[in-house]
Subunit: 198 residues, 2 copies
């Protein structure tokens, strides 16, 4: 491996993640060549393995970066509406529910035939972690809103989990059909947002 400074390494890693996002989305995991990824990043093919163990490992890192961006978005939404929990919860659910399941890269890769190959790199525990991280993000806001009498009383974790359940709706999209799904989503998020607030 050529000697890279830490800043160069970070830049190359970011370029590999960007290239991975674009190419996996366009071509899928199987039909993306490591040589294309490294060409995009301006490094030799073999140097790829100084950064990632496999294409699946890169895909997992891309999805992890997406999840971190969603997390930042969710935090920004809660902050922006900290005086209006009803709007905060509705926007939170709107963003969280499209985050993983409707993410086009996730649908193109994990939701299709690449699922098993990625599974090794992006474990069930990691997906569970995503759920737990969303909950950790939400609970302090619920506590602060309860102190201000803006949110109903009760265990903040139970309330947070009940809110988060609504974000699983896209997993059941098929049962609702294309026409009803957006209506059910809007109604459910409205019911949850108004129920959680006083």
């Amino acid at each position: 491996m050529p000697r890279f400074t830490p800043a160069e390494k970070e830049r190359i890693r970011e370029r590999l993640l960007d290239s991975g996002y674009d190419r996996f989305l366009a071509d899928g995991l199987e039909d993306t060549a490591i040589a294309d990824l490294t060409a995009d990043a301006g490094i030799a093919t073999g140097t790829f393995y100084s950064f990632f163990d496999s294409k699946a490992d890169l895909l997992a890192a891309v999805l992890r970066r997406e999840a971190a961006r969603v997390h930042d978005d969710l935090e920004a939404i809660l902050d922006a509406h900290e005086d209006d929990p009803e709007t905060a919860v509705r926007r939170f659910l709107e963003r969280a529910s499209v985050a993983i399941v409707e993410n086009p890269l996730f649908r193109r890769t994990v939701a299709r035939s690449d699922r098993e190959r990625v599974h090794a790199a992006l474990s069930a525990e990691e997906l569970k972690d995503t759920h737990d991280r969303k909950l950790s993000l939400l609970v302090p806001y619920i506590e602060a809103w309860q102190d201000r009498d803006l949110v109903v009383d009760g265990d903040p974790e139970t309330i947070g989990m009940t809110v988060l359940y609504a974000a699983y709706l896209p997993l059941h999209r098929a049962e609702f059909g294309a026409e009803q799904y957006p209506r059910v989503r809007d109604l459910l998020f409205e019911w949850i947002a108004t129920s959680v607030t006083t």
Copy 2:
């Protein structure tokens, strides 16, 4: 096959369903012998195939009978609380959510290793049908309640689907954990029941 009268056939079929329920629950599909089922029903082993194509076919019929019983229960709940939709919806969700996923026979068989063998007999369309039947049951009540101004305005089908989504909660039980799950369930059902009513 011995000559059975239609009434005898019906009785034997019921006995096979009863025996299947007990034995599949106790021993699972794999470890239940057709000879045991037919002994319980008082028929020769080979006569089994005049009634069902396979053990998996019998299990599917047992689960179908359970689903029909749940449907009757749900209808009775809606009738019993026809003047109080908040209670009706809460009880409906309580019954519907334990119906399939928490049914001990379903958990003992379909939710475990027998899943694939049963899948052929009890198809995804049939499970979808169960959802659609619950919806068909609920929608006329919603319409009647709307006429009496007891339930919020809006497309009765959208409202019914949104209510039914809460019944999928047990599918996500693992994410909530044993301690929080019953609390999340009670809170969610309360929120849905109070949101749907005026």
